[in-house]
Symmetry: C2
Subunit: 270 residues, 2 copies
């Protein structure tokens, strides 16, 4: 499928510009809720959810519904709407809710638009850090409006000192016992950091890290990342995907500077 033929550039520009508006509105709401306070509770799987997650998703759904009434919506906190629509907005209103609750600044808000499963627009916003990365098909990747181009690494020079973002080991064990895979990656790339999902993707997009690995997460955590990475000149690989009953489809991905992404992907082929 050639998305450029299916969707006129003017349409992509319109979607992109609205996505940036929606993201700005989500940021304003998140900052006001951080100041005003919010309720926290645990979901049955012991993960956190707050009244802020719900309110931000409600606001995004309302804005999307108003501007794009034919589009579907997939979000972490509410059931999907218009699942048959070719255009689907996918969101995690607050990714890294546990960090949000602790007021650690790396949490963020993820919003993407997909067309028949292919990403068209992607935005990750970090309200407290004042970092917003955004991309749209054929329009490049930007940080707070400024164009981002990722330089590749020399494959011959990769020696294990590269900066790699990992998920916590818990991500490798929550749906199945892939803990040894975490151990193998941590051994092979010991100069790692572990932030929350969305900030590690942002670091890969911006080249703050050379690559990021994601593991054990659903579609809304990843929906913006492929286009953000690819439009910046990086590489994004889905290295695993499997269905978890009662949870849905779960992914493992590697993203960042192409030469390192290829190297990291070999850890998943064994």
């Amino acid at each position: 499928m050639d998305l450029h033929k299916e969707i006129p550039t003017g349409e992509i520009e319109r979607f992109y510009s609205r996505a940036l508006e929606f993201s700005a509105s989500a940021r304003a709401l998140i900052l006001s809720l951080l100041a005003a306070g919010f309720e926290v509770r645990r979901k049955p799987d012991r993960s956190f959810v707050t009244s802020a997650d719900l309110r931000v998703e409600e606001r995004l759904r309302e804005l999307i519904g108003k501007h794009f009434p034919d589009h579907g919506i997939i979000g972490e906190e509410y059931p999907p709407t218009r699942a048959e629509a070719p255009f689907q907005w996918i969101m995690d209103p607050i990714d890294g809710t546990e960090d949000f609750v602790q007021r650690m600044p790396a949490f963020g808000s993820i919003l993407a638009l997909h067309y028949r499963g292919e990403p068209v627009v992607g935005v990750i916003d970090h309200p407290v850090l004042d970092i917003r990365v955004s991309a749209a098909l054929g329009l490049g990747t930007h940080r707070n409006g400024e164009r981002i181009i990722l330089a590749d690494l020399d494959p011959e020079a990769i020696d294990g000192t590269e900066r790699v973002m990992l998920p916590a080991r818990a991500n490798f064990t929550k749906h199945r016992d892939d803990g040894p895979l975490f151990d193998a990656v941590a051994r092979a790339h010991p100069n790692h950091r572990i932030y929350r999902t969305c900030f590690s993707h942002t670091c890969a997009v911006l080249g703050m890290a050379d690559a990021a690995i994601d593991y054990g997460n659903p579609i809304w955590d990843l929906a913006a990342s492929r286009i953000l990475i690819e439009e910046a000149g990086g590489k994004f690989l889905d290295v695993r995907a499997w269905d978890v009953p009662g949870v849905g489809r779960i992914y493992g991905s590697v993203m960042g500077k192409p030469a390192l992404v290829d190297r990291l992907a070999t850890c998943f082929n064994q």
Copy 2:
């Protein structure tokens, strides 16, 4: 040694107030260098050093020398001065230089005053995040001037879901092969994050994380942390210490909520 008997409270207040001034001056310089740009090179051990590290340490040394000409100074970038003095200022002007180079916001500036090896004042400042944690003997721990009190965990409720900050695996292998210790801790406490040294300590001080482990680092990375944690009501344990020829004394420490610190310390007793 009872430090309260050795140092009048008025003196501690004076040291504390100066330390906060010095830290504010370092922050202003760091922010101006981030805006203006700085030079980056690699040390022989491949770690990064920048012209900003040097300039910030120079400024701190100049301020300390002016106000406390009898005190010694230990810093990462220059040789110690007045090593025999009972009061020693210990600093890492930019901790997490690799992150500073990448403009990742978790880097920070560490400053402490020790008296005959015991901490009297400690400050960790994160200029980009606008977070400064500070403590002085008997005067409590503060975040941007506001008092911090750490609540403990119920020891019976500790189940491996606590939020633990770890150093990268590289920290366990750079001076000796303690990689299996990293693997064991990561397995036992899978809900971990890996930031840079100083921000993981700050998270433990603020309760953003339940505990932090430090490993394989020299005195200036740790100099502020014991008093920051203890004055907040937390617990700080040195769990390892050894001498590395040509490098100096290297430490392993656990800090944070007392019940979890005790539990984590058992990983180091095996």
